[in-house]
Amino acid sequence: MNTIQPLVMQARGLVKRYGQVTALDGADFELRAGEILAVIGDNGAGKSSLIKALSGAIVPDEGEILLDGSPVHFRSPSDARRAGIETVYQELAVAPAMTIAENLFLGRELRRAGFFGRFLGLLDKPRMLSESIKHMSDLKIGIRSMTQPVETLSGGQRQGVAVARSAAFAKHVVIMDEPTAALGVKEGNMVLDLIRRVRDKGLPVVLISHNMPHVFEVADRIHIARLGKRAAVVNPKKIGMSDTVAVMTGAMRPEDIPAECLAH
């Protein structure tokens, strides 16, 4: 990215304590339009608490979260979802015996117009079917039939369904929590392609991953979490994998990162 894009999501000074343990200790976060921002960090670095705060799964004790410049207060994942933030989870969060179309619209079923839809909750299956085809082909997920049960798909294709669901309903941000962790090499690469396509559709993506090759392959910027704070944001095209890991583990101080390796 040559020009600096506007901020879509921003967090300032997030603090979250669990008894004696401080999971977030004044963490900052910035997500820009049209980017894939990878969030990495060692265990206990506050990475997952940060993501949970952004996706509404926890409520931070202090600090603020801004979405498109205005403050938001998520008390539950549903709040975040209503604000246009969708999350893809590490475990394949699909209902295996249900069809692709049903999974895409689970909890957000389209209902028929008029009395039958509003009061009896009757589903508009033809429209859900045609919209599923649209959402899946938007991301170039080549699946023949939307009426096949998800359990007939491979792990990568199942994650594809989860990604397509998020991309279809997210208005602002897609958060992906270790989306490739449960997958093999080939399937993982397939999901990486999907992540790029989601970004290319115009949705910024927050990617949490332990897999450094994956992070370096798709990320536009890398947010390094350490000791409950943001240690640095680096540019994967300038910095090497070993220096990144060194900052993450504390072997290298953030101040020692060469200036040209930092991302803004």
């Binding site: 549903s78 009426t147 049960p149």
Partner: protein
Amino acid sequence: MKSVSASPHTVRLPQLRFSSMTLRPRLPLATLGPLLALLAACTFFATQSDRFLSGGNLSLVLQQVMVVGVIAIGQTLVILTAGIDLSCGMVMALGGIVMSKFATELGLPPALAIACGLGVTALFGLLNGLLVTKVRLPSFIVTLGTMNIAFAITQLYSGSQTVTDLPPLLTSLGNTFALGGTQIAFGTVLMLALYGLVWFALRETAAGRHVYAVGNNREATRLTGISPDRVLLGVYVLAGVFYGIASLLSVSRTGVGDPNAGQTENLDAITAVVLGGTSLFGGRGWIVGSLIGALIVGVFRNGLTLMGVSSIYQILVTGVLVILAVATDQISHRTSR
């Protein structure tokens, strides 16, 4: 086959067609299996007893099946959510005693007495549901407990005495009308209507799909913003209502309030659901399969009686049937992973 086509079994032909239209193209065996098993059982008993295919006997089978059949609807809903309800038969018996005692001893208007019976069974469903969702106990243990509680209350309240001299409304669903040489009970028609209603609701409404989703993957369902607890609570209460309707059918069929009702129906209903192809692992199944399963159980009981097999052996056969069905479910579950 020719012997079967003239019987009320023709009713099931449209259901075969529906199975090919469902959104879940399962193994053809999974949906066809129960139907074939039913046809095989009918053919077998037809060769063993001349009376089996008589109009009078088939009408008897259908009347015996209506109680198990309606309990099996509630049981199917619970099993679809990956739960199980062991209290179904005992709750049904309690509902029957409440209806008959309220209508006779308390002298309530019959309709109100029926409503009270339904209220009690729904309340038991609510209790099961609350314990499963709020206290997070396994449904197996919860309903094992409520099964005994319902049984004890039934015995205490009735003094283990059968309630007789019921007003006609309480037995009206046992009345029959003639149809092609057999007598069909109104209760059987009600059962078929309830199956149709639940089949439609499970297939065509958001709430129906959420029942499947909760059974499939409770955590994934929660993450989509659906409240699994609300779905489960609804399912258990609704199951209680179906047990209450079964109470009325049971009272109608026997003409009395029987404190010892429901004892065979308890396992028979679970057997029917599993024979019908609904998975005990939850999230997979077909409500119409439970009707076929109930018919299989009914045909076995009736056919074995006609052959002069003692009731102890019938219990043995039911036990074998349920294990066979669960084993099939387990094996198909393993291969589908």
